[in-house]
């Protein structure tokens, strides 16, 4: 028996009293996590297949177009036209990625876990939305950057260079519009169901169903109707804004005097999606 004094250490539950990072950190963490999920980083190989496949196709197309433009300057495709070409790929990308971002959380029932932390519900919605929009913008903007670099290095004069800079700026801005609208609609539809396949189908259905409406309205006999036709589908809506801001790629499409209306509707749709997303997450079931 030793006679050294014994001490019982109190290693029971201890409260954390150190510094706590704020709301911005929470938002940023969720945003970065969303962005990584979009491209399958930090997940299994199966989750990487589709996003990287789409990314590859888009980049490849961009590179090819850039090369073509470098060789034959007049046959080139403008940055905005490139974005238009990628329309359906963006739809598929959003249809696959948006459910990964929000439907998985719904299916696993972890939203009560999220919201019993200092994470505001609106922050959750915004962080996911901004992450998806950033992913789409990267998808469209990355190839544009590559195209710009190729064009910049093959430019002969500084004037050409600055023209390129102006063009790519337009293209990037156009990509931002696309990202905002498509991410907003896609995330809203995906947040309604926990089954990823249904969410993907719903997103594609929204775009598929609205396309014939544009088709029908655009053959209406009245000029006003034809000008307004592009309003009825998200893809053509953004295209219409592009036509107003940057001019029509082949000079055929006209939206008449309705340019500002298109922009207003676009902003309205984005704002509407944001508001609806926020409202959707206000009440979350606990089971």
């Amino acid at each position: 028996m030793s006679d050294a004094a014994g001490v019982i250490h109190d290693i029971g539950y201890q409260r954390y009293v150190g510094p706590r990072l704020g709301r911005g950190y929470v938002f940023k963490s969720l945003y970065v996590h969303g962005l990584r999920t979009a491209f399958g980083l930090g997940r299994s190989a199966k989750a990487k297949i589709f996003p990287w496949f789409v990314l590859g196709v888009v980049f490849l197309t961009g590179v090819i177009l850039a090369a073509v433009k470098a060789q034959v300057p007049d046959a080139g495709v403008t940055y905005t036209a490139f974005v238009d070409m990628m329309a359906w790929l963006v739809v598929f990308f959003v249809a696959v990625v948006a459910p990964e971002l929000v439907s998985r959380d719904l299916r696993a029932g972890v939203l009560p876990l999220y919201f019993s932390r200092p994470l505001r519900r609106s922050d959750y919605a915004y962080a996911k939305l901004v992450a998806l929009a950033t992913a789409v913008w990267l998808l469209l903007g990355g190839p544009q950057l590559v195209m710009f670099l190729v064009a910049a290095f093959s430019a002969d004069t500084m004037k050409q260079f600055w023209t390129e800079v102006g063009d790519v700026g337009q293209g990037m801005l156009y990509a931002v519009l696309w990202a905002a609208v498509f991410a907003g609609i896609g995330l809203l539809v995906a947040s309604l169901t926990g089954k990823r396949a249904f969410a993907a189908g719903g997103i594609v259905a929204v775009f598929l169903m609205t396309t014939p409406i544009v088709g029908v309205v655009s053959v209406m006999p009245s000029q006003t109707a034809q000008d307004l036709a592009l309003l009825f589908s998200p893809a053509s809506l953004v295209f219409g804004v592009g036509v107003w801001l940057f001019g029509s790629p082949d000079g055929n499409d006209s939206i008449g005097p309705f340019g500002p209306l298109y922009l207003a509707v676009t902003i309205g749709i984005v704002a509407g999606c944001v508001a609806l997303l926020q409202a959707r997450y206000r009440k979350v079931a606990s089971s």
Binding site: G201, V204, L208, M209, T211, P212, G215, V216, V219
Partner: protein, 238 residues
């Protein structure tokens, strides 16, 4: 008594779930656009293609068939209630066939009515009837296909979407060889041959369409029945 009971419980299951509401806006959209087109006096040649084919036959019919076809069996497999149906001394075809009939009936009623109305507005009663009948055949083939898919894979809705969008949508428009294996083309052909107008452009011949539809339907249904016989529930589920 057994087939009616299976049909009854399948129908109750379909209509008791929220997803049934998705069935309503799509056919209404078809009719709405047709009314719009006819009402504004636009020549049918301009709007028939996108509305009747692009929306009606290519989107509304397969999507509704997908929702219903994967719902009649797939939802029971998903939530585990299929066990109650399978622990009965019934030959498995007595389970599959009534479900197939219910799926076909629901899809047909939802789609064919709107197709009929749109067809009448586009051209004539004959076109309307042709579209409706072709819709019936299409509903049968699609339902059989998607019902089989819910037994063959764990993600029938996703695969069904890929089939409709990629195989029939994308490839069918660009790769002519795949048209022979596309249900959409069979439906198109049947409608066109019943009511020849210049509005639908069918690309496969009528005998091919009929035979392939029959082969598809019978083939996948037999496959589904066999898979139901070997339906396995693995270890512990929670």
């Amino acid at each position: 008594m057994v087939p009616q009971t299976i049909a009854w419980i399948t129908a109750r299951g379909l209509f008791g779930r929220r997803r049934f509401l998705l069935l309503i806006p799509l056919p209404l959209l078809v009719v709405g656009l047709a009314i719009l087109g006819r009402g504004f006096g636009v020549a049918p040649e301009n709007w028939a293609q996108p509305v009747l084919v692009g929306l009606g036959l290519a989107v509304v019919l397969p999507v509704i068939a997908l929702i219903v076809g994967t719902g009649v069996l797939g939802s029971e497999i998903d939530d585990g209630t299929i066990v109650h149906i399978l622990t009965k001394p019934l030959p498995r075809w007595q389970i599959v066939l009534p479900k197939l009939v219910v799926a076909t009936a629901v899809t047909t009623v939802t789609v064919s009515i709107s197709l009929y109305v749109a067809g009448v507005l586009a051209h004539s009663v004959r076109l309307g009837l042709g579209l409706a009948l072709a819709g019936l055949v299409g509903a049968l083939v699609y339902s059989a296909l998607f019902l089989a898919m819910s037994l063959l894979t764990r993600r029938p809705v996703l695969l069904g979407l890929v089939y409709v969008l990629v195989w029939e949508g994308l490839l069918g428009n660009f790769v002519s060889g795949t048209r022979v294996l596309s249900v959409q083309q069979y439906v198109l052909t049947i409608a066109d041959k019943i009511a020849p107008t210049g509005l639908l452009q069918s690309k496969v011949s009528l005998p091919v369409a009929i035979i392939m539809s029959a082969i598809f339907t019978v083939g996948v249904t037999v496959l589904a029945i066999d898979r139901l016989r070997s339906f396995s529930v693995a270890g512990e589920t929670s």
